[in-house]
């Protein structure tokens, strides 16, 4: 990075630069406060003040939303019970480990054969630094976190119909794309094409910026050489002693970058939710659900399949049956109900709420998504490719290969061998688990040929076949949000809904927790007022 004014940078330019900076002071302040306003609306640990006078709450669902509500309401003095469909707490906060069994809809049973310490997170797998609520609960509940590398410059971007099918290093794609765009802009500037829109002074700064940002040489050109190599890497890395001089490699031509579509993958690192720093719990995302569960284990009834939600002027009554032994209907009553059942399921359960909330519950389809974990007997991605953590992206149906974010130089490892949305997610869901794994090996083997020799076992989770969600997450559109979101979030009599589906952070755990905190804050206000 340039720290002193480069040669040719005149004092007048510096003064104008300072002038610009002074004039933008107010804007900077505005942007900073805007930034804070957007970094989730978590206001610190919830304070539910006032005595609920022994009021009772029935929480439906022991995922993160339900357990957040249960923990905090009990803390505030409520009598709380929780009904959960699964035989474990956590919901989509879930890690599959060796010995775990999973039966999907349709009956296919998989038993995870991973070695001790290895896992797959079928659901959420990363936490952005600004998801303040879930991070605060991790801190308060002693869940150890470690870095989750979203952008590993040495991982791959792979376009199956380009570069002879050879995957490209992210650092080369990024540097070559950025460098050649910078060169184009520099040339355009030098030809005077920007004269009408950019002042002469700013053009000089822009040229310097493009040289710096794009790794251009002294002639504002991006090409093979030691300047670009500092960004894109070398054909032969610098070393020590005799013959240690580095050799730069040749950039990928702009036209090849554009036509291959590899630039699309760069978007996976740009969004707010994917910017450094991201984190994951040590030992699997399920560690969060386990930490929550220890605080409410005594009030959860497992294997409880809710079949009816009724309410009157004075109480909520929920009918349920044993998921393992259906038939005998049992009931549970309380003064209030926090329902976190996914809308995919709630839309099929008779529930006494008004027509607006009914319409909202029925308005949200659930997205298709598939994740596949593959155990290999050798960490070839580290040993052969120097890929330590991070993610490779491909236009093959598997879409994603995620590398273990810790345990480097260990013996074995589990790759996230596929993580897909869209048409491919439906296609993979329609396959048997064995076929999904076979396909993941076939496609992934085109990026890592070591797959065939090193594979040991795998497990595949297709979210539309998951019995407790029937889909990955609520798939809102701008139109359905405008028409239904507010109706979904209202307190209807004695019932309030919570979960990622009742948030503006769909599919994120932060959305589930924030939605629960907001729901119980409003519920508590109503209880105290009555």
């Amino acid at each position: 990075m340039t720290e002193t004014p480069p040669p040719g940078f005149r004092r007048r330019d510096l003064l104008s630069l300072i002038g610009v900076a002074a004039g933008s002071g107010a804007m900077y302040q505005a942007m900073t406060s805007l930034g804070f306003a957007h970094s989730s609306d978590y206001g610190g640990p919830i304070k539910l003040e006032g005595d609920p006078n022994g009021a009772s709450v029935l929480v439906l669902g022991a995922g993160l939303a339900g357990m957040t509500a249960a923990i905090e309401l009990r803390q505030a003095g409520y009598r709380v019970r929780v009904l959960e469909y699964n035989s474990r707490a956590g919901g989509r906060n879930w890690s599959l480990r060796g010995g775990d069994s999973f039966i999907e809809l349709g009956g296919a049973t998989q038993t995870c054969a991973f070695d001790k310490g290895l896992y797959l997170n079928p659901g959420p797998w990363r936490i952005p630094y600004h998801h303040n609520a879930i991070l605060d609960y991790c801190k308060r509940f002693g869940v150890a976190l470690e870095p989750f590398t979203q952008l590993n410059h040495n991982a791959f971007i792979h376009a199956s119909d380009a570069f002879g099918g050879k995957p490209q290093r992210i650092r080369s794609v990024k540097a070559d794309f950025q460098g050649q765009v910078a060169e184009l802009l520099a040339k355009t500037t030098a030809k005077g094409r920007l004269d009408e829109t950019v002042t002469v002074e700013d053009q000089e700064i822009l040229l310097e910026a493009m040289r710096d940002w794009g790794a251009l040489d002294k002639d504002y050109t991006y090409g093979a050489g030691l300047v670009s190599a500092e960004s894109r890497g070398y054909a032969k890395d610098p070393g020590g002693g005799v013959g240690a001089a580095p050799t730069p490699g040749a950039p990928i031509a702009l036209s090849d970058l554009l036509r291959s579509g590899v630039w699309r993958a760069l978007g996976n690192f740009a969004g707010y939710e994917f910017q450094t720093t991201l984190m994951q719990p040590v030992g699997g995302m399920g560690m969060i659900g386990q930490a929550f569960a220890t605080r409410v284990a005594d009030i959860i009834t497992y294997n409880a399949k809710v079949t009816r939600i009724q309410q009157s002027e004075t109480a909520v009554t929920v009918a349920w049956e044993d998921a393992a032994h259906p038939g005998a209907v049992q009931t549970e009553s309380a003064d209030w109900c926090v329902c976190t059942i996914p809308l995919s399921i709630l839309s099929q359960i008779p529930i006494d709420v008004g027509p607006k909330m009914q319409a909202a519950i029925a308005a949200v389809p659930y997205a298709a998504s598939v994740k596949i974990g593959l155990q290999f007997k050798r960490r070839f991605w580290e040993e052969d490719e120097a890929i330590y953590g991070g993610i490779s992206y491909t236009d093959l149906p598997i879409q994603t290969i995620g590398y273990p974010q810790s345990g480097f130089h260990g013996e074995k490892g589990v790759l996230l061998g596929a993580y897909m949305f869209g048409p491919n997610a439906f296609e993979f869901t329609a396959m048997s688990p064995e076929e999904r794994i076979r396909r993941a090996l076939d496609y992934g083997g085109r990026i890592h040929p070591q797959y065939a020799a090193e594979f040991q076992n795998g497990i595949a989770v297709a979210w539309h076949r998951v019995p407790f969600t029937l889909g990955c997450a609520g798939d809102w559109t701008d139109e359905t949000r405008a028409a239904h979101y507010d109706d979904l979030c209202q307190i209807d009599g004695r019932v309030v809904l919570a979960g990622e589906h009742a948030s503006y952070l769909p599919a994120w755990q932060e959305g589930a927790v924030l939605s629960a905190l907001d729901a119980i804050t409003r519920l508590h206000r109503r209880v105290i007022a009555t």
Partner: protein, 132 residues
Amino acid sequence: MKRVVALAALAAALANSARADSATSQDLSKGYAKFSEQGGQALYANVCQACHMADGKGAAGAGRYPSLVADPKLEVSGYAVALVVNGQGAMPPVGRMMDDAQVAAVVNYVRTHFGNRFTDAVTKDDVKAARP
């Protein structure tokens, strides 16, 4: 405007070349927007089967996927088309990732299989009219 047309032509050319290649290198859909399968049987086996299962009987967990077997609701062809195009409840509007001919093909397939014998086939135009 001319540039937009040129880019559209380029995109179409790229899409065509990608399709030609993909026919040999893979049999699943390419990209995030559209299903590539053609014909009712292939569409059912790669899309609908994800939830309604290979035998059309659906499945039940905390909620359920309805059975399509001998389903009297399918008698009204417009109902089936509307479901595929618009979705319903948790069911995604998968028809938005299909063209009109694909939607017609898969609706006709379901209405003539799994114990359903509704022979009044729907057409591309029926689907087009049902799109929002």
